[in-house]
């Protein structure tokens, strides 16, 4: 079996409210093999960011992880005390965020912010840390690195800031990079550059967990994809298989919405209805209320995530029948 950089098993996370616990992440298992890019795709609020934060141990109170195991490089880190967990952040696993505009401290020079990550995990002098930061700036394709390192975030463009974020995440050479919508706030040409950079990082040995709602980005970059809906994984497959033979009606809906644009149809294909309230999920399949193919048992019984082909799983009662049709 190929070595896994990250293996999350049965991850659960929730937000306690007065009306009960919102189960934002429900029994999510994700594998990120070494040297690959794995994607999580889904619409806003489906729990993909929360999954990433749970893995990083960066839940924002009152949200909290309620169960599951997180194996990082063969070690279960879910139950480590916060101090040890913190030592892993930035050194063995790191994360970049959606908004490069607001993700950098506005009153600190960007070089210093990268050097800070170095100094937190390596016992080196300030000069050495600064030097490594500039080196990393060059590695992520920031031209004129030494002088850019002395800039404040507001003096840099969005693309440069995201490069700074990537430099910060990568400066201690972590095995796993979690990228939460890294290009959503960027324009398309800059997006292409950042995606290329991430591809290069992966080729150099970093495993990447990429979170996106953008199927184009997923298709371009990922080796394997998880589709999330209402806090659960509804389908998972290799990227080509998923795009060629989507088994879950939700995945098909997502793909149709994109391909109807490409076909130049009169109307955009959409998925009916809205995302269900996580406090009042339907009894059976979470997607049943919006599903065109919904049958009687779909409304009563939550389907299991079943393997329908090697490496291809779907959470749908009807998946087997339709997968190869």
């Amino acid at each position: 079996m190929e070595p896994m950089t990250l293996r999350a098993v049965g991850l659960c996370a929730g937000i306690p409210t007065q009306k009960g616990e919102i189960r934002a992440v429900n029994d999510v298992s994700i594998d990120v093999p070494a040297g690959s890019i794995v994607g999580i795709v889904g619409e806003s609020g489906c729990g993909k960011s929360m999954t990433a934060r749970a893995i990083m141990g960066l839940m924002r109170s009152p949200a909290r992880m309620t169960g599951g195991e997180i194996w990082l490089n063969g070690r279960d880190i879910a139950r480590l005390p916060e101090r040890q967990r913190r030592a892993l952040r930035g050194s063995e696993m790191s994360m970049i965020f959606q908004e490069p505009m607001t993700s950098l401290n506005p009153v600190m020079k960007v070089g210093r912010q990268v050097a800070e990550a170095v100094r937190l995990h390596a016992n080196v002098s300030r000069q050495e840390a600064d030097r490594r930061a500039v080196e990393m700036f060059e590695a992520v394709g920031i031209s004129d690195a030494a002088s850019r390192a002395r800039c404040y975030p507001h003096q840099l463009s969005g693309g440069l800031r995201q490069r700074v974020m990537i430099a910060m995440a990568m400066v201690c050479r972590p095995k796993l990079l979690i990228a939460d919508e890294p290009t959503t706030a960027l324009d398309v040409t800059v997006e292409a550059q950042i995606l290329r950079l991430m591809r290069n990082l992966c080729d150099a040995g970093t495993s990447i967990l990429l979170i996106s709602h953008n199927l184009g980005v997923i298709a371009q970059l990922c080796d394997y994809v998880y589709v999330m809906y209402a806090g659960r994984i509804v389908e998972q497959a290799g990227v080509i298989k998923l795009f060629d033979h989507p088994a879950h009606p939700y995945t098909r809906g997502l793909l149709n919405a994109v391909s109807s644009l490409r076909r130049g149809g009169e109307r955009l294909d959409t998925i009916n209805g809205v995302v269900p309230n996580l406090l009042r999920l339907p009894e059976g399949c979470s997607f049943s209320l919006r599903c065109d193919a919904c049958e009687a048992r779909c409304a009563q019984e939550m389907p299991e995530l079943r393997e329908i082909a090697p490496g291809h799983k779907a959470r749908c009662h009807l998946a087997e029948r339709e997968a190869w049709s």
Partner: protein
């Protein structure tokens, strides 16, 4: 940066001149003859007229103003009617006490205010949060004279820990500093708490956590410096209001400062002295704002470049 400072400086001069003119005119249109007040009830008309001419008060108002400004530029703010000494000399003597009181009050207000604000934010909705915010609410809402008298009653009259009034030793400054500073401490604590809570929700705090910073490092290195930006502005304003003389505190605790001088000037219709103290207050406020703006630029690189 230099250009903007120069512009600010010119603005400050204009504000000072404008305020001086307004005080000048107001003091001359209020009813009542200052010379008559000064000479007492039994002065005859001839003496009053001679005195008026001697003081230059019979001249047209623009001539008086021009003379006042020219004299002021040479450091001569006239001679106090009621005390017979140069205004500059009286104010210099009083300023020492006001400065000491202001520094003591500011130290108390900021150390206590910032510390309480940080603790309250970190322990949001906890016991300490409620306790500190309660104290700050008291400080913000109680009038200074009441705080002052309560403090005198408890710590001087009952417990005999501290002198009831006067500033013969440093101990004399403690109660007035608390009375004067409590209000500022309260507003600083509230502002620190709310901005810190806001800053702690920012994305760059997540970034700092993601690179492995612990809570104390995040608080000191990332959150506090950002949270202090609006607080600095408030503190600079407070400093100027403290420095321009605390009328009530100085009166209650018998401290011979600028505030008390102003009260004496008003009750004695002492025009030169009143002009002097009012002008001084304006100067301090203008300088305080200038300080706030420059501090902001030092702390916030975004403003530094735009300025």
């Amino acid at each position: 940066m230099k250009q903007s400072l120069l512009r600010r400086f010119i603005q400050a001069v204009i504000v000072l001149l404008g305020v001086a003119l307004m005080i000048f005119i107001m003091l001359r249109v209020v009813p009542g003859n200052p010379v008559a007040t000064m000479m007492g009830e039994h002065a005859d008309i001839d003496t009053i007229q001679r005195m008026t001419a001697e003081l230059g008060l019979d001249q047209p108002i623009h001539v008086q103003f021009a003379r006042y400004v020219l004299d002021a530029l040479r450091g001569d703010f006239g001679t106090s009617y009621s005390m017979g000494k140069p205004v500059s000399q009286l104010m210099a003597a009083a300023f020492g006490n006001t400065l000491a009181l202001a520094v003591a009050a500011a130290l108390f207000a900021w150390v206590v205010g910032i510390a309480c604000g940080i603790v309250a934010a970190v322990r949001k909705n906890g016991l300490l949060d409620h306790l500190f915010m309660g104290f700050s609410l008291l400080g913000v809402s109680m009038p200074v004279f009441m705080v002052a008298m309560l403090l005198q009653y408890v710590f001087a009259y009952h417990l005999h820990w501290l002198p009831i009034s006067g500033v013969d030793s440093w101990k004399g400054y403690i109660l007035p500093a608390i009375a004067l500073g409590w209000n500022s401490a309260g507003s600083v604590a509230r502002l620190v708490r709310s901005t810190l809570l806001d800053v702690l929700q920012q994305d760059y705090i997540d970034t700092a956590r993601a690179k492995g910073r612990g809570q104390p490092g995040i608080l000191v290195l990332h959150a506090l410096r950002n949270a202090m930006l609006p607080v600095m502005t408030m503190m600079a304003m407070q400093l100027s209001s403290l420095l321009s003389g605390a009328v009530i505190t100085e009166t209650v605790f018998s401290i011979n400062g600028i505030g008390r001088l102003a009260v004496q000037a008003i009750s004695g219709r002492d025009i030169p002295l009143l002009q002097g103290t009012a002008l001084f207050t304006t100067l301090v406020v203008v300088l305080g704002n200038l300080l706030a703006d420059s501090l902001y630029a030092v702390l916030d690189p975004r403003i530094r470049r735009e300025a």
